[in-house]
Amino acid sequence: MLLRASGEKEGLDYNVTAITDRSKESGVAHGELLTALAEQTVGGDWSALRGTLETAKAAMGGQQAVDVLVVASAFNGITRVADATGIPLDENTAATTGSLRESVGLNDFAYEVKSARFD
């Protein structure tokens, strides 16, 4: 949702369905590399990450490539805080992103859906 907000601020229309569908282009600069770095970081695929990081350093520069890992590592922690405490969406997010969450597939991660599937 914040990706969409960033696009609105920049006057750009990012494709947020790329968040869950790797076949889609986000429209964000170096989006494919960012996604690969994020996935390999949180998936613990360290050997693949070594190679992707070198590619990213060549494409984006060393500082930017490392900063992608800085963000990914933070969200690897904070998503667990959210999941472990069962916090609801903020009211405005819930009210304004219903169809977006449905189209991106995020509603599959709702707590009641998880309870029905995994309890």
Binding site: A5, G44, V70, A74, A82, I87, F118
Partner: protein, 229 residues
């Protein structure tokens, strides 16, 4: 800690160093030794065969077994730590209720903070091909039994920080629910977010990548971890 040659800010390096020192001090519900053991347990989880089998099962409840864990923490605590570390996207309310019936909500919130602070630190070390940092020796002393925070039932599994719902220009409340989530234990909020803050901000991010690039990474990580929030 990190090699000097890595392009990381002093703020981030110092935050991680401070966090590890805070973790090994007594907290509101746990001793320093127990909090230190939580980090060791979280590290064990990444190589735990039982966790790997459970992660690959259609439902975590379909697999039974025993965790590979080097600590002497109670079994319910070890299981909670391993679940949060290795399979956070499939935590459920009934699982939460079972864990908190055994240890209580304040102790659980403190555990969530300690474990996930270490997740941030350890993930970045591993991603940068750095050895995981050594943990300082635990400081002696009983749990501090510090007062719980001013909280309210807002529909989360735990009561969360009472806060005004004023909106910020990010499209989120000035105090979004994620900042309120561990409000039952103020020390837990301070530990986690003092570690998180040098990594990200909701606007005017102080990194070399753009806000949109940071949001794409954040969103992809959230989706990978099957995080609803």
């Amino acid at each position: 800690m990190y090699a000097d040659t890595l392009p990381l800010s002093d703020e981030l390096r110092e935050a991680h160093d401070r966090a590890l020192k805070k973790i090994v001090r007594p907290g509101p519900s746990w001793t320093g030794a127990e909090r230190r053991a939580m980090v060791e347990s979280a590290r064990s989880a990444t190589n735990c065969s039982y966790c790997a089998a459970r992660k690959s099962a259609l439902s975590p409840s379909h697999v039974s077994g025993e965790h590979e864990d080097a600590t002497d923490l109670p079994a319910v605590v070890v299981d909670a730590i391993h679940r949060i570390r290795t399979d956070p996207g499939r935590l459920t309310r009934s699982w939460f209720d079972e864990v908190t019936a055994a240890i209580g909500q304040p102790a659980y919130v403190e555990l969530v903070s300690v474990v996930n602070t270490s997740v941030i630190i350890d993930t970045l070390h591993s991603a940068l091909d750095q050895p995981l940092p050594s943990l300082p020796e635990a400081e002696p002393g009983d749990p501090t039994q510090a007062a719980t925070g001013d909280v309210v039932d807002a529909g989360a599994w735990v009561p969360i920080t009472r806060a005004a719902r004023d909106m910020a220009d990010t499209g989120l409340p000035a105090v979004p629910n994620i900042l309120r989530a561990m409000g039952l234990v103020p020390e837990a909020v301070a530990l986690f977010f003092s570690t998180f803050r040098p990594h990200y901000s909701l606007k005017d991010i102080k990194l070399s990548i753009s806000q949109a690039q940071a949001e794409l990474v954040a969103s992809r990580v959230s989706a990978w971890n099957e995080c609803f929030y």
